[in-house]
């Protein structure tokens, strides 16, 4: 720890003893400790990188000494690693530092050999303090030609779309605009104005791809079609239609998160985000910033919502990758960092992380995916006013709460609107600070309950530029005094203050009369809140700095006149692309193939992740992520009891099936949604109450003959996926409560010979589902409960091995991708819901990736009992082989166990639906399966299955 402050020896001794040294377990010294080593590696943060322990150290020092450190003083943490190994070289140590201990994007390191080490000065004093020595300056930007503005865009990394440039120029060259600007002392646009426009127009903020016009051409049928605006047609339209039909849908499509009715006094809210680009460069920092960031969305929904739970989805390259490509971070290291980031972000926020998934695929080597989902709850009313509604009005004060503004996070949104390359600015990588945010969360909820909040939104992508820009639309204008914004350090330009994405900040509108109360409450919670402006109805976004205007633009500039993006989309059917079913004769050793599939990375146990996530803080846990006799098998969904004195619950699940996109993203989408829905049905949810969140992550779809030759195909996959989403939502009746898209999931990776390769991710959709559970005491888990119980499979097993785990195991793709017959499936789902309601079911588990064989194993491992299974009894269509029966991934299916006394009532309920009793739960330690021809094909102890399933990652903690 490096203390850069004028403290006396006595003060230093106090803090050493009272704060920084545990007398029972630790030693400390102001001199370098005398430790035996051959090498010392010192690792510290780079200047300006968020140092959370450093800042809590300042708080503690100030507290115990009763003083305030000056703005030039600070505390910085770093680590000294002592390495023994005399044969090691500086080169080795550099590798250890760079590839294991530090990430050069946020950290710096120094290596000392025993010989170089000076026992009295040690590493020397390194103070990573930001010294900018810069006078804030507003620069004007010439708009004399498209070319010059384009050049500025490239130079400043604005990522302006070439088609937007004439529109921007036209505005600033307009006579009336010029006259108005002249009056406030402006002529050509300022850098802060152009930055504001660039942020707001970025694909990240404005969803230009989803709002684009797609020229879709089906090469199979020759049919051409123009799809104008995927968002409007496939997401907004069905959701509005369903909102009309479902009174429980409270608020969708406008706020930071969507809201549904929990009970008459509460609304739940949900949203999902991705944080791919930053995580790809600095896994820990990116992921913690991602989860802490998504937690600000519910907090900024309505007049503010309390956080209830979080979910995660990680997609990375092969964990044991040993090939020649050199990603910035090896997938193993990247995954470790991402896991830890979400751990600290969730645990330190006091929000349970109740559900999540990990997918390994080579396509994510280029850019990893980090999905984070947040669920919150708000009272239906505050002081008799609807809590889900909010607006800003003229004269309301603009207040910034939480963290301070620094250079970090500048151009995050524009960077994530690009393919990753070595030129991507590193400055946008941050480290989230859940502690600061937790204080702010507690403060804002108390302020909300006192009726002090008129409007609240988070500062995420785009910083103040987005949050103030968007909130000022309600009042239709604002005046911002930029010099009032509290900074981490001096010397930021005005535009930097405006677009910085420094974390843990919210923008709040309050009545000026409430200011004193608000600030007092803020102080009690040790949260910084600052008035930075006033909302107006001037129709202008007006920003001043020390009294001088530096931005003055029409509030409606962003909504008017920008051209729609255009995409060519060309669909080639899988058969036309050369896909076919492999010629594969049935295996004879089913025991070993089942064990090997259970041990595949995308199937095997990932208990080590669940265990390091606090999944039961808040005391609400009903169905945990891991359940069963040994509490180690994944449940279908998680259920929480968010209102402690109510027996109602919220069920949550999500699904990811990207591999099906190798055949057709349409079926990838239908199967993903069906799985996410089935997961909720399995624990006891009712299809009527299910809402969804769509998170698209797609590779670049803009065709380019050299750089993106298959862009048209990827665009067609996106169109098909959106159409599937629309169809599924309407058939199942699932309103999309929230959703986001993240495009450009591609990366250019250096290879062995200095060449580089573009790696694109699979077209990926994470679909999250949420539902109110009317009585949690009736929830069902997936583990078999008792020997003698009957085992049923609901739904039909078809010859659908295309894209399956089984085919992937052999290196095949296949053609027969599973298809969803939603109309038929939903009848079965509603009967199952009724059966759970009537409490005649002992366990329910969906059949997902890996098929029947894998999921029978899950039910057996969960219960700790054996089973006797006869595949001949299975309800099938076009299936006459054991491998198809065991490993087909047909959608719409469940494994159900039922106590014998409930046999007849169960069978009666399902009489008109495809289902079959295929066996029973036994006392024996083995899973025994008879094949379609009545011959025993498999007999494996449950313990062997579990050993195989836990083997790959079982030793990780």
């Amino acid at each position: 720890m490096t203390i850069d402050a004028a403290l006396t020896d006595e003060q230093l001794e106090t803090i050493q003893k009272e704060i920084f040294t545990n007398p029972v377990t630790q030693t400390s010294s102001f001199e370098p400790l005398d430790i035996v080593f051959d090498w010392t590696i010192w690792v510290g943060y780079r200047p300006g990188v968020r140092d959370n322990p450093g800042s809590t150290a300042v708080e503690a020092i100030e507290d115990i000494l009763g003083l305030k450190l000056g703005s030039n003083e600070g505390v910085y943490t770093s680590r000294r690693y002592c390495v023994e190994g005399s044969s090691l070289t500086t080169e080795h140590l550099n590798r250890v530092a760079g590839e294991l201990l530090a990430n050069d994007i946020i950290q710096q390191w120094k290596i000392f050999s025993k010989k170089d080490w000076n026992p009295s000065s040690g590493t020397g004093i390194i103070i990573p303090k930001v010294i900018l020595d810069h006078t804030p300056t507003v620069t004007t930007i010439p708009v004399d030609s498209d070319g010059s503005l384009q050049a500025i865009s490239d130079e400043r990394n604005l990522a302006l779309n070439p088609n937007d440039i004439p529109v921007i120029r036209k505005y600033f060259l307009d006579k009336k605009v010029k006259k108005e600007r002249h009056r406030v002392g402006l002529s050509d646009p300022t850098d802060i104005e152009i930055e504001y426009i660039s942020q707001a127009r970025s694909d990240h903020c404005n969803h230009n791809t989803f709002r684009g016009r797609f020229h879709y051409f089906d090469l199979e049928t020759g049919k051409k079609e123009v799809v104008d605006n995927l968002f409007k047609t496939c997401i907004e339209a069905p959701t509005l239609e369903l909102k009309e039909k479902k009174p429980w849908v409270i608020s969708v499509l406008w706020d930071n998160a969507g809201a549904g009715l929990f009970d008459e006094n509460h609304y739940y809210v949900i949203t999902g985000e991705t944080h791919n680009s930053p995580s790809n460069m600095e896994a820990y920092g990116g992921a913690i910033t991602g989860i802490v960031g998504v937690y600000r969305d519910p907090l900024g929904t309505g007049k503010g919502s309390k956080l209830l739970m979080g979910g995660y989805g990680f997609c990375v390259g092969e964990r044991d990758y040993q090939g020649d490509l050199k990603p910035h971070l090896h997938p193993r290291r990247l995954l470790d960092g991402v896991i830890e980031g979400v751990r600290d972000g969730g645990n330190k926020s006091g929000i349970p992380t109740t559900f999540g998934q990990v997918i390994f695929d080579h396509g994510y080597m280029g850019k990893c995916l980090v999905f984070v989902t947040a669920v919150g709850i708000m009272p239906a009313q505050i002081n008799g006013q609807p809590a889900d509604q909010k607006k800003t009005s003229p004269n309301d004060l603009v207040i910034m709460c939480g963290g301070r503004v620094g250079k970090d996070g500048i151009h995050g949104v524009t960077a994530s609107s690009e393919t990753f390359s070595e030129h991507t600015p590193a400055g946008h990588v941050q480290i989230g600070d859940p502690y600061t945010q937790k204080k702010m969360h507690d403060f804002l909820l108390e302020a909300r309950d006192q009726g002090l909040i008129r409007f609240v939104t988070d500062n995420g992508g785009g910083g103040l530029s987005s949050s103030v820009g968007e909130s000022a639309r309600f009042s239709n204008g604002c005046e911002i005094y930029l010099e009032k914004v509290p900074l981490k350090y001096e010397g930021l330009d005005q535009w930097e203050i405006w677009v910085s994405e420094s974390q843990e900040r919210m923008t709040v509108a309050i009545d000026p009369e409430d200011l004193e109360t608000f600030l007092k409450l803020s102080e009690k919670h040790a949260v910084e809140s600052t008035v930075i402006g006033t909302y107006t109805d001037s129709g202008k976004l007006h920003i001043t700095y020390d009294g001088n205007t530096c931005a003055y633009v029409n509030m409606d500039l962003l909504t008017a006149g920008f051209p729609q993006w255009e995409f060519e989309a060309q669909w080639k059917s899988p058969a036309r692309r050369g896909l076919f079913e492999p010629v594969l004769k049935e295996p004879s050793d089913y025991g070993n193939i089942l064990k090997d599939i259970l041990a595949r990375p995308n199937i095997c146990s990932k208990e080590w992740i669940c265990r390091q996530y606090d999944h039961e803080v808040q005391g609400t846990s009903v169905v945990k992520p891991l359940m069963g006799r040994d509490r180690d098998v994944n449940s279908d969904a998680s259920v929480i009891r968010p209102v402690l004195d109510s027996e109602k619950g919220l069920a949550f699940a999500q699904a990811l099936l990207p591999l099906y996109s190798t055949i057709d993203a349409f079926h990838m989408t239908t199967c993903t949604i069906d799985e996410a829905v089935r997961r909720l049905i399995a624990v006891g949810a009712d299809l009527e109450n299910i809402g969804g969140v769509d998170n698209f992550c797609w590779p670049n779809i803009q065709f380019h003959p050299k750089n993106n030759p298959d862009g048209k195909f990827k665009a067609a996959q996106l169109v098909r996926s959106c159409k599937a989403l629309q169809e599924m939502c309407l058939t199942y009746g699932i309103p999309l409560l929230s959703g986001k898209d993240s495009m450009y999931v591609d990366g250019h990776l250096p290879g062995r010979y200095g060449e580089s390769h573009k790696i694109s991710a699979l077209e990926t959709l994470q679909f999250s589902t949420i539902s109110v559970i009317n009585n949690i005491n009736k929830c069902v888990t997936m583990d078999s409960k008792s020997p003698g119980d009957l085992l049923y499979v609901l739904g039909t097993t078809r010859n659908e091995l295309g894209g399956s785990e089984y085919y992937e195991h052999f290196g095949y793709t296949g053609l027969n991708v599973p298809e969803v017959a939603a109309e038929q499936f939903k009848k079965l789902y509603s009967v199952l819901t009724q059966a759970i309601e009537e409490e005649i079911i002992a366990s329910a588990h969906g059949i997902y990736r890996g098929g029947l064989g894998v999921h029978l194993a899950m039910v057996a491992m969960g219960g700790g009992f054996g089973m006797e299974i006869d595949l001949n009894d299975l309800s099938v269509e076009d299936v006459d082989r054991n491998d198809v029966a065991l490993f087909s991934e047909s959608a719409g299916r469940f494994i159900i166990t039922v106590a014998p006394e409930n046999k007849s009532s169960f069978e009666k309920m399902f009489a008109s639906l495809p289902f079959a009793c295929i066996g029973n739960i036994t006392d024996s330690p083995d899973v025994n399966v008879k094949g379609v021809d009545g011959i025993k094909i498999l007999s494996v102890p449950v313990s062997d299955l579990k050993a195989a399933w836990q083997k790959p990652f079982g030793d990780l903690i």
Partner: protein, 274 residues
């Protein structure tokens, strides 16, 4: 007597305040969530309460040893107030981060009336990471601990979840001996069959010496534990609840709707004050 008043601390990164307050309500108390600063600035008086709870969470981010900075703040602003509170016969409970805070304040172990020295530590788990899992606990029937009274009478062994990265109990042998001799070790990590975990992971989830999960001061009125009783405030919190329900159903019985072991722990405290 009027209802027992419980003060549950909140703020600065604490995060189990809602459910802890709720569990105390179920136990018959009136509980209030109070921001640490409201206690310091005097807008809330400790004198109005009989039970003070340092709950779970990450106070000050736990960046400098779990509970350390929270302890510093209390010591600086409220040191003697808490000692007087204890002297009056009131109860202090520390759960997880709260236990870590009590240890850093020196309120535990309180050997020889010394409520100021740090003589024990809760340090990083041996397994090297944060762990969320349910553990079985063995109760010391001879312990003066107010909160665990009668736990040995429960039908099955007591189980609560642990959720921490720094829960390994560490003390010098001399201190450890005193704790044993004076029955200050109230709760220990156990095997599912009731025997002591004897350091075996994951039954002892953090490598605690002597499988220590919770200790009290010699009066039994100051108690700290790593497991979270407040997270077992409803039968459905228990990881086996659907399995137990199914067994009960087959015996034509209902799931036990009486207070959970978690609520009983709080009720012991409330009943003591009554």
């Amino acid at each position: 007597m009027s209802r027992v008043n419980v003060l549950v601390l909140a703020g600065y990164g604490l995060n189990c305040d809602y459910e802890t307050a709720y569990a105390f309500e179920l136990a018959g108390a009136k509980s209030t969530r109070v921001h640490i600063n409201a206690l310091i600035d005097g807008s809330v008086q400790l004198d109005d309460f009989q039970i003070l709870v340092f709950g779970g969470g990450f106070s000050w981010g736990d960046d400098h040893g779990a509970g350390v900075v929270q302890a510093v703040r209390f010591k600086t602003y409220l040191g003697d107030t808490i000692l007087e509170f204890i002297d009056k016969g009131n109860l202090v409970l520390g759960i997880c981060n709260g236990f870590q805070t009590l240890v850093n304040l020196g309120l535990l172990p309180g050997i020889d009336q010394d409520y100021k020295s740090r003589t024990i530590a809760l340090t990083f788990n041996d397994c090297g990471n944060f762990q969320d899992r349910w553990v079985s606990l063995k109760t010391n029937t001879n312990s003066p601990c107010v909160f665990t009274k009668g736990f040995d009478q429960l039908e099955s062994s007591v189980e609560f979840p642990v959720r921490h990265g720094e829960g390994k109990f560490y003390a010098e042998q001399g201190v450890l001996k005193r704790l044993q001799n004076d029955n200050q070790i109230a709760l220990q990590y156990a095997l599912p069959d009731g025997g002591l975990a004897q350091g075996q992971f994951p039954y002892n989830p953090n490598g605690s010496m002597e499988d220590i999960a919770g200790i009290c001061d010699p009066t039994g009125r100051v108690f700290g534990l790593m497991p979270h009783p407040e997270a077992y405030n409803h039968p459905t919190n228990h990881p086996d609840w659907t399995r137990v329900r199914e067994q009960m159903k087959r015996q034509e019985k209902l799931l036990d709707s009486g207070p959970t072991a978690g609520v009983r722990l709080f009720k012991n405290g409330v009943d003591f004050v009554k």
